[in-house]
């Protein structure tokens, strides 16, 4: 059977010499196909004596296996070479700039509102809202503003044209009317914050006719002014993300609280930036107090049964203190450069556990 050896050598060298898949397949058919040479030799096994078959069978099978494998190997090699050849032509210049994606940003005031909600939410407050256009009763009378109080004048308050016989509506001058609306609608215990737009007839370097406030209200049995202090000190620490804050509370006057207090915090000015918490000067940051018994009565709550505290603070200024905007006026100018610089990325969501700010 020397011719089997020769056949094998010939076929294997033919396979090794093939340069394209078509020719390779032709060899496969010519050798291993139904009418192929090796297949033909295999068929002859049936006509052999058992002894011949004993000898030839394994040899032919080995030949067939070896040729199949060689074809498979060669096929893979040719395919790889073809892929490499194709890829060599598939070049793209990835130094070209991609399509620009416009980059958006969230307004710092809106972000700070969310920070405040996160902080106070963690203290058990929920967020309440009320309308910007208020009536005299909610904005002033129910809040114990006496008749003739200067805040009721046109140099402070925006008025609408009076409708027949009614006192004119106003643009709310503070978020405090939401206290009234909440106490009228809910029964204590109450813990709410009320963020929103407020309006005063004032426009200069440090005042805008519209700005933002957040109101806080707690009505619960047993809540006293020590809780007011504790709550607001906790808030300042959380908001400015500092471990400690030097704060003081001073008596002040607000018609809707008694006793009333303003809260000051110590701060340091370092170059253009302000660091809140410690330092050599005091800065007023909010007004607060125990809810005035007249306000509770106006909302149908018995001041001998329930008590609580309220506070209000300017959110725009708070944002300036934390994030260093030097000027209030660009807040309302929708200036793209300013918003890109001071704004927040869309995926920054303030939370107490995950950090308030980036």
């Amino acid at each position: 059977m020397a011719d089997i050896e020769t056949l094998g050598t010939d076929v294997l060298s033919a396979i090794a010499a093939v340069e394209d898949l078509g020719t390779l397949d032709e060899i496969r058919i010519a050798e291993l196909g139904k009418k192929g040479r090796i297949s033909g030799l295999m068929k002859q096994l049936g006509g052999m004596t058992p002894d011949q078959r004993q000898e030839m069978g394994p040899r032919l099978n080995a030949l067939k296996t070896e040729v199949s494998k060689a074809i498979e190997r060669r096929k893979m090699a040719l395919e790889e070479a073809a892929l490499d050849a194709r890829l060599a032509n598939e070049r793209t210049d990835l130094s070209l700039p991609p399509l620009p994606e416009p980059v958006g940003a969230l307004h710092p005031v809106m972000q700070v509102f969310e920070e405040l909600a996160a902080i106070f939410g963690d203290m058990g407050f929920s967020v309440a809202e009320g309308p910007d256009i208020e009536d005299d009763w909610h904005n002033f009378t129910a809040l114990n503003f006496p008749e003739g109080h200067p805040a009721r004048e046109t140099h402070d308050t925006f008025f609408f044209h009076p409708q027949l016989g009614d006192t004119p509506k106003v643009l709310r001058t503070h978020t405090s009317p939401v206290q009234i609306r909440t106490m009228m609608a809910q029964t204590p215990p109450i813990r709410i914050i009320a963020p929103g737009r407020v309006y005063r007839n004032d426009w200069d370097a440090t005042h805008t006719p519209m700005f933002h406030q957040i109101e806080g209200l707690v009505i619960e049995k047993g809540v006293h002014m020590g809780h007011l202090k504790g709550c607001l000190i906790d808030f300042v620490k959380a908001f400015f993300e500092i471990d400690d804050v030097e704060a003081r509370f001073r008596p002040h006057f607000f018609p809707f609280t008694e006793p009333s207090a303003e809260m000051d915090v110590k701060f340091t000015r370092k170059g253009d930036s302000i660091q809140v918490g410690s330092g050599d000067s005091w800065m007023e940051i909010l007004g607060s107090g125990m809810v005035h018994p007249n306000v509770l009565r106006n909302c149908g709550i018995d001041p001998n049964e329930y008590q609580g505290f309220a506070f209000g603070l300017g959110v725009d200024r708070l944002a300036m203190l934390k994030y260093g905007m030097p000027d209030l006026r660009p807040y309302f100018e929708a200036d793209a450069v300013w918003t890109r610089h001071y704004g927040f990325k869309p995926w920054t969501t303030p939370s107490v556990s995950g950090g308030l700010s980036e």
Binding site: P131, N201, G226, R248, P346
Partner: protein, 797 residues
Amino acid sequence: MKFPLSWLKDYLSTSEGLEAIEAHMVKAGLEVEHIENPAEKLSSFTVAKVLDAQPHPDADRLRICTVDTGDGEKTIVCGAPNARKGMTAIYAPLGSYIPGLDFSLDSKPRKIRGVESHGMLCSAKEIEAGEDHDGIADLPNDLPLGLPAADALGVNDPVIDFEVTPNRPDWLSVKGIARDLAAAGAGLLIDDSVRKVSGSYDCPIDIAVEAPEACPIFAGVLVKGVKNGPSPDWLQARLRAVDITPKSLLIDLTNYISIDRARPLHAYDADRVSGTIRARLGRSGESFEALDGKTYEVSEDMCVIADDSGVIGLGGVMGGTSTAVSDDTTNVFIESAWFDPLRTARTGRATGILSDARYRFERGVDPESCLDGINLALKLITDYGGGDPSHARIVGHAPQRRDRVEFDHQDVKRLTGLSVKTATMKKQLKALGFAIEDSGEIWHLTVPTWRFDIDQSADIVEEIARLEGFDSLPTTSLPVPASGRSVVTTPIQQRVRTARRALAARGFLEAVTWSFMPRDHAVLFGGGDEALTLSNPVASDLNQMRPSILANLAKAIQRGFNRGERELRLFEAGPVYQGDGPKDQRTMIAGLVRAGEPRHWQHRPAYDAHSAKADLFAVLGAIGQPAERFQIDSPKQAHFHPGQSASLKLGPKVTIAHFGALHPRALRALNVEGPVYGFELNLNAVPFMKVRPSKTKPVLEKADLLPVRRDFAFVLPEAVPADDVVRAARGADKTLISAVRVFDVYRGSGIPVQHKSIALEITWQPQKDTLTDEQIDALSQKVIAAVQRATGGTLRG
């Protein structure tokens, strides 16, 4: 309110220094705004002795002085004509800042015409400590060397300025300040009971109180034979310290008593008063010339002081020129009356007159102080101007007011958390002027007549708490609420947050713009209701509550382009106003884009109305509202382009959004260059999903079988909206069709004019069994039939 420390010490006996006094003030609620401390400003200047003064060899006007200073002997070149040997002068060392000249001396000696000068001799004016007549300050020789200039010049008196809260008009008096500071522990109140000055005859001028609701009590006194002239130096100095220019004794003393006791008075030249002095209401048509030289119309709401000649003053606001005192006045009539605060405030606002009297009367003057005012005035007049006073005449009665409150002393602990001994409380309240009747738990307190802010127990709690100091209050964190923590924000707030983030993630910058806008623009954007027009806008173009956010955004976009932006995407989430009722406010989110030229090597398509629609649907998707719920409808708002905008409806009635290109006419009115594209979505109008009882998500239904897809092209008239075709196709089999995609819109060769071809890819999702070819053919026929039935579209051949 401003006062010099020395004045306070008339009534407060204290060993406390300036800083401690300031701390006591802040603690008690007198918010110190500023302290002008001349000693601080003058700290570098001291008393020096001029040992010798020789003419400068090279300059006629200069002298070379040898000066003994606290720093040793110095040579100083001085140009003052009065510099002379033996003089006591003020010395400024090298390097010091000279405030009156606004420059600093060099820190190294400088040669002046060849002679080194080691400092400067100053005038009082140069160090802003007074005026001089001739050259440098020429001080008495007995002043010791090195004495601070502030002491030497007698100006070492800090002036404290603080905020008087509107509830405490008694702090508009130096004595009132001292009373609170004494109660707060800063010292002892000095007893100063006013002594009666007796007259010798009845006041010949009659007084009539004709409008007791406006002026319930009026006291007056005549002093004959007064010599008016400059008031004494101490009085002038005090007035200057509080920024009042001294005029003459009779005027200065009324100003002085107003600040000293918060007791406004008015002085009339009695010889110019004719007949009875009446406090009555004004009559229309009356007018008078006030002391500010202006003539004011009087109204029937005003309280006037009148004599037989007519109006001679506005009660509690300002006197008139016709009866004004002058340097020649010899007979003076002093008025000490009480005017109603609200009426005084109204008169003050109507006339625009700002006066110390108005400021005090509109906040509240002690109604029991009329007679004290007369006696204080008489004392100063007779001491410094002589004269012969009459008996005081008092007409009317001090107004009735609440003078007793019940105080539950346990309220202090209940409301503040502070434990204060009852004895301490009593001491504090007495120091403030309260009289106490102790009946166990409830004390009956008599409120001092100068306090208008005490009505109930809580008001007394504030007094105790502020005198104790808020620093001594406990600091207690709020306990976790009994109900536990719940969801903090409302569904609409959550929706706003999500929508904002969706837009910011799509490249939009968040804006916050005014809630108001020009009325004529509001009209163009669907608003202009008179009920939403401000009667006193801050600017005439911010006079209307906005009906839409888009106009403000459009103007902001134009501003951005004017500053060189290439492409701007802005959005705002905020209120719009559909009426002035509490439920007429809507929360909208609006986005607006002005596309830049899409210059990029990959040729990105420009932003257009379809892009705006994509952004709108992205917002809807973000807030859990799949696009299929809504229907595209014709434009509904006049500020949108009629052919390139649409509205979005939910069911037949509710319109939730508008989107597309803004109308060029609206843009022209706003001075905005178009085109700009955007949308405005009413976040309140989109219904909220029902809150599901469980957080568990519904069971996943995932088909195992491969979906089948086929393409169809329909030829339709131009006017048929693509959405109709899509809806018809989708409706052909509600269970099996899982998606309908428009993948081409074609016009041109092979399509009749005024027609278009819309190509759809339909996806069927087999549910249980694979679809056979026959079934797919049947389903395809259903689609073709449904589209034809609904739109008249035919399958493109």
